[in-house]
């Protein structure tokens, strides 16, 4: 059985999704304020890390890592509505890329499973 990550197309899928996804995020004024790293290399790496994880790809992030990475954002007011906005853009990106509905659903389940850690609940 191929993993979700393999079914989606692995690293190539991450590479095709990253520009589409991140454009949606930055165009969304309700969340764009959270993303303002000036270092281009870091911005790309972080977005790819996010997508790799959501696609069920190889990563060693623990729930604790996710809490730590997003804790400064929670301090700045990160909440449910922001989480839903990001999840929505992720879903729209996959649909735009023509990913099959059942795989999209699986990705949304992975993303959803991080909810409490991301929001520090």
């Amino acid at each position: 059985m191929d993993s979700l990550y393999e079914k989606l197309g692995g690293e190539d899928a991450v590479n095709s999704a990253v520009n589409i996804f991140y454009r949606k995020v930055l165009k969304d004024e309700t969340i764009s304020q959270f993303f303002n790293d000036t270092d281009m290399n870091k911005q790309i790496a972080k977005q790819k890390a996010f997508l790799t994880m959501a696609f069920g790809g190889p990563n060693n992030y623990t729930g604790m890592d996710m809490r730590k990475a997003h804790a400064p954002l929670v301090k700045k007011g990160l909440n449910e509505s922001h989480f839903n906005a990001v999840a929505g853009h992720l879903q729209a990106t996959l649909e735009e890329l023509g990913v099959a509905a059942d795989l999209v659903k699986e990705v949304m389940v992975v993303a959803g499973s991080t909810h409490d850690d991301i929001l520090g609940l």
Binding site: R23, L26, K27, M40, N41, K46, P58, N60
Partner: protein, 327 residues
């Protein structure tokens, strides 16, 4: 078993042990995250050799060319000398060959470099003055047989370093210098790709180098340079750039004035900030490669704007001149 040399110390990599694991085992604090080659927080520099290909997986091409590698993926194939990526030690001494004013406040400094020094046009180096003030400047020329580099140094009010260069530094003097750093240099992915170069003030320096590098490598796509200043006299190298337009039909040059603008300016300059003029010049920037240099706020805004206009993240190269604008 390979030996790692890091900060003048040797460390032994065990069989199948990564560089990151070796250094962590030795209680050396190295930034890291996923340990899977995803987050890129563990990136390091191989000083003396090409790092193993698989350890550069996922890095941008310009990072690969600088011999950056992910220490969590790197199982050494040979002994390696490694360093943190921004290695700013003053390992060289460069001799001043020439000083020449380019406009009322910007000086061209030509330095003879060490034989071992290599660079790509657009990268920057750190220099140190006699009173140990250090500053970064971008290289505005291409590698040459005479072994010199050129920098464009703007004189700042009360600028300790720029004041020293302008007033005290003499032909024949030696200046301590670092290796060439940074990833803002011409990356020939496809010769037909269109290139947008936008710079303010002495942000022209890296762009001038990148432009010459691209032309020397026979870049075929459109290259459009927008250079901005507040006043006409803030711009420089206009004649040289205008000459390049005549010689290269794919090169376009738009000098921009953001301050007072009059009828006399109209025939030579566009009105407005360089980044805004550039954005309004093209309805979309799908598939362009973009280089942004100069004022940090301009660079930051512009990288988002060009991205939203269709440029891919991997095709944006920036050099923000933070120190020039710090209070």
């Amino acid at each position: 078993m390979a030996i790692l040399n890091y900060q003048q110390q040797d460390y032994i990599c065990q069989e199948n042990e990564t560089v990151l694991d070796t250094l962590l085992r030795e209680n050396i604090a190295i930034a890291h995250g996923c340990r899977q080659g995803v987050c890129q927080s563990c990136v390091m520099l191989s000083v003396d050799s090409n790092p193993p290909k698989n350890s550069q997986h996922g890095l941008r091409e310009n990072q690969q060319q600088q011999h950056h590698f992910l220490s969590c993926l790197c199982i050494p194939e040979q002994n390696m000398q490694i360093a943190d990526i921004e290695q700013s030690d003053f390992v060289y001494e460069f001799k001043v060959l020439a000083k020449q004013m380019l406009n009322h406040n910007t000086l061209l400094l030509r330095l003879l470099h060490d034989d071992k020094f290599t660079f790509k046009s657009g990268q920057f180096i750190n220099l140190k003055s006699v009173d140990n003030v250090t500053r970064s400047y971008s290289i505005s020329n291409t590698p040459n047989q005479q072994h010199y580099i050129e920098l464009q140094i703007r004189l700042l009010e009360n600028g300790r370093f720029s004041g020293w260069v302008h007033n005290d530094l003499k032909i024949g003097d030696n200046v301590p210098a670092s290796a060439a750093l940074g990833g803002c240099f011409y990356n020939k992915k496809r010769s037909q790709q269109q290139l947008l170069l936008v710079g303010t003030g002495s942000g022209l320096a890296p762009l001038y180098g990148i432009l010459h590098d691209a032309l020397e490598q026979n870049h075929e796509g459109t290259i459009h340079l927008f250079h901005g200043g507040r006043k006409a006299e803030d711009l420089y190298l206009n004649d040289e750039l205008t000459q390049l337009v005549i010689e290269n039909k794919n090169f376009h040059y738009t000098p921009c004035i953001s301050g007072d603008y009059n009828d006399e300016h109209r025939s030579h300059y566009s009105q407005g900030r360089a980044n805004e003029v550039a954005l309004s010049a093209y309805s979309n920037l799908n598939d362009w490669q973009v280089y942004l240099c100069g004022h940090p706020e301009m660079v930051k805004q512009m990288q988002t704007q060009v991205f939203l206009k269709g440029v891919n993240l991997d095709d944006i190269y920036i050099d923000a001149f933070h120190c020039l604008y710090k209070k």
